[in-house]
């Protein structure tokens, strides 16, 4: 264990570095177990993240954003590339070694209904990780949990209640408390507010921001909603069919979206103003199946500006200044 921790020097301030990460799921196998067809869920994704920052990852269903989050946590085994967490290369760690690192990286899920075990009380759900990882001495576990519940806006008498007795927002608070109970450094938030009501969404986002300040957390915030991501992120990555099409600081992405897909995403969001008649870019057709992605630039089937070159060549993922990466042929002229 100690060797693994020491063989990479902790010089960089980056808490998370992802290099050319790839994740494939086998679709068809021969009798001998050889994979003949595979689904590339995450294709060649790279980024770095400093401690205390928030990376927002935006994309539609099937774009691989959830798979990316889970592969970073090594809940899926990666098929290529490297994940360096806090100076340690965790890509090839064995499950036993990984178990120690787990408490430093946590996840919050989209669905607060299925992510809590139905037959444990809130107290049980929150005490278990604390006890398993020996976060505090046994005698203090309960006080620690009650303190944590208060921080997350849960009343102390919820301790004896079961998850099904709560509304979605309260459940999501329980999930957040559970993730934070082991004092992690990195939290992957996988669409944490998508299943919640608007007024509750705002509460949860504010809670997450507050906790980030207090506990110096780093977030990877996955969402399909650009306007939510805007409030919490420092950097934003836009994904389409498994690959990152645009990446940059929040200011760059919002002030100057370069990729046509990012532009379409911006204009697709309905705005709560009846007089604002936007000139909307409506993309044609459906998202292609990730099992059978189009050749060349993956977006060319729906792109309003697609040229012949887009149908053949995969565009390069290139820095257009200030760490604003885009993968599009239109910009390379």
């Amino acid at each position: 264990m100690a060797e693994v921790l020491n063989n990479e020097n902790k010089t960089s301030e980056n808490i998370l570095e992802v290099r050319n990460l790839r994740k494939c799921f086998p679709l068809k196998k021969t009798m001998t177990g050889k994979v003949t067809q595979e689904l590339v869920a995450v294709d060649d994704v790279s980024f770095t993240l400093k401690a205390g920052e928030t990376l927002g990852i935006v994309g539609e269903s099937g774009c691989g954003k959830t798979t990316l989050g889970r592969t970073i946590l090594k809940l899926h085994k990666s098929s290529g590339g490297k994940i360096i967490f806090d100076g340690v290369d965790i890509t090839d760690l064995k499950p036993k070694q990984m178990r120690e690192i787990r408490k430093q990286m946590q996840i919050i899920f989209q669905d607060p209904y299925s992510s809590l075990p139905p037959r444990s009380t809130v107290g049980g759900i929150l005490s278990e990780p604390v006890a398993v990882h020996n976060i505090v001495p046994k005698s203090e576990v309960k006080d620690y949990v009650l303190d944590l519940m208060e921080k997350c806006g849960l009343r102390d008498y919820y301790y004896e209640r079961y998850p099904h007795e709560f509304s979605g927002g309260q459940r999501q608070r329980i999930c957040i408390a559970r993730a934070l109970s082991v004092k992690p450094k990195l939290v992957i938030c996988d669409e944490p507010v998508s299943a919640l009501d608007v007024s509750i969404q705002a509460q949860i986002i504010n809670l997450l921001k507050q906790l980030q300040k207090d506990m110096n957390l780093t977030y990877v915030f996955i969402s399909h909603d650009l306007s939510v991501v805007k409030f919490i992120s420092d950097k934003i990555g836009v994904m389409y069919l498994g690959s990152m099409v645009e990446f940059g600081t929040k200011e760059d992405i919002f002030a100057n979206p370069l990729h046509p897909y990012t532009q379409a995403l911006f204009s697709a969001i309905p705005q709560p103003d009846p007089d604002l008649k936007m000139n909307r870019i409506i993309l044609k057709g459906d998202i292609p199946s990730p099992a059978n992605p189009p050749k060349g630039c993956r977006f060319h089937t729906r792109c309003p500006y697609a040229t012949d070159k887009c149908k053949e060549e995969v565009p390069e993922y290139r820095d257009y200044g200030n760490g604003h990466f885009v993968a599009c042929h239109l910009l390379q002229k």
């Binding site: 178990r99 787990r102 899920f109 299925s114 075990p117 398993v132 009343r155 999930c175």
Partner: protein, 380 residues
């Protein structure tokens, strides 16, 4: 910073408190109990099963006095030992007439022994000699129902009513034991197969397939013949057979558990448990198995019924409990010995049949009631 959080969260709390206070929910246990008792059938089932239990386990204390265990002692109070060095124990049955009768456990009515006691002293040691004389053996065979024998006696003079009680004990104990073993084995195998999947899953499931293919009754016949030949005490026969039943029945439970675990494994709370870095046994037995419990309880109560049927079948085929021990199946088996009983002495075999039907129906009603009560889809 710390303080700021606290201020904010208390605000949230205080505002939601008043509305929260007037909301009172049912506790989960109470909800299950309510749902269970809402159905009349499950109440009927519960009454049936509970009354059978009382009948079998408490009944004998009222109807037939249990025999006293008497250890024969010498004048100094030391037990008299037999040739093996064990104390000599006699069972003394106290009859209503005030006569002492030393009879077998449930043989009331067949034999009544008169006991006479003599005390004599040899070399300063006092011995108590008890002598018995047999009376009335033949007269009580196939007696009609009467005040003495509520349901009459069978072709060997056993009191049927008392025998039903003792038979119930064996039938119920044996089926509970078998179901318990099946569940333990099924949960372990199904849990391992479902959690690990892949190669291990494949092996366990193929073993299940093979076991399910085995023809149960013919193999039972063979085993029973072997048991007969190997001269095993009639008392233990039935337990050996139950172990065999467990062996061929666990695949059903294992499949149920495996199927449930396969779907539960994909739930996000299991991914959360993985992300927490819990150990594998903790994930299986603390997170997965408790969530299979509802289905397991239902399947257990349903298979209790089928185990009683199995036991009755075995005893009827003369494979299970053998005389002098009673079981409901054994009591019906009497009709195969004598055509006359089938036609003219309904009191000998019909009550045992009724007991079996009541037990199986009762367990099935309870099973159905539990399924409705524990169904997570019906939950709020």
């Amino acid at each position: 910073m710390e303080e700021q959080t606290k201020v904010e969260s208390t605000q949230t709390n205080d505002t939601e408190a008043p509305l929260d206070k007037n909301v009172r929910l049912m506790s989960p246990t109470r909800m299950v109990v309510r749902r269970f008792f809402r159905s009349r059938l499950s109440i009927v089932g519960l009454i049936m099963v509970v009354s059978l239990f009382l009948f079998s386990f408490v009944g004998p204390y009222f109807v037939a006095d249990l025999p006293d265990e008497v250890v024969q002692t010498d004048a100094n109070g030391n037990p008299i030992l037999d040739e093996n060095g064990d104390p000599i124990i006699t069972y003394v049955y106290h009859d209503d007439d005030g006569k002492w009768g030393e009879i077998e456990l449930d043989k009331r009515g067949m034999t009544e022994y008169a006991v006479s006691e003599t005390t004599y002293t040899v070399n300063g040691v006092t011995y108590t000699l008890r002598q018995t004389t047999e009376t009335n053996i033949e007269d009580n065979m196939l007696a009609p129902p009467s005040g003495d024998h509520i349901l009459g006696t069978d072709n060997q003079g056993y009191d049927i009513f008392v025998r039903l009680m003792y038979g119930g004990r064996i039938s119920l104990i044996v089926s509970f034991l078998a179901v318990f073993l099946i569940t333990v084995l099924g949960v372990i195998m199904g849990g391992i197969a479902g959690y690990f999947g892949g190669f291990i899953d494949n092996i366990i499931m193929r073993v299940c397939d093979i076991l399910i293919c085995l023809p149960g009754i013919p193999i039972l016949l063979i085993i029973s013949t072997i048991l007969d030949a190997s001269d095993i005490d009639a008392k233990y026969r039935i337990y050996l057979l139950m172990i065999y039943l467990t062996f061929i029945s666990w695949p059903g439970t294992a499949r149920l558990v495996r199927g449930q675990i396969l779907s539960l494994r994909e739930q996000e709370y299991m991914v959360a448990a993985e992300a927490m870095g819990y150990s594998v046994p903790r994930k299986i037995f603390k997170h997965l198995v408790p969530n299979v419990m509802p289905q397991l309880i239902v399947s257990m109560s349903l298979s209790l019924g089928s185990m009683i049927l199995y036991e009755a079948t075995l005893s009827y085929l003369n494979l299970g409990v053998k005389a002098p021990y009673a079981a409901w199946g054994t009591m019906i088996n009497i009709i195969s010995q004598d055509q006359d009983i089938l036609q003219n002495h309904l009191n000998v075999w019909v009550p045992a049949g009724i007991c079996i039907v009541v037990a199986v129906l009762g367990f099935n009603f309870i099973g159905d009631g539990l399924r409705d009560a524990l169904d997570p889809k019906a939950r709020r």
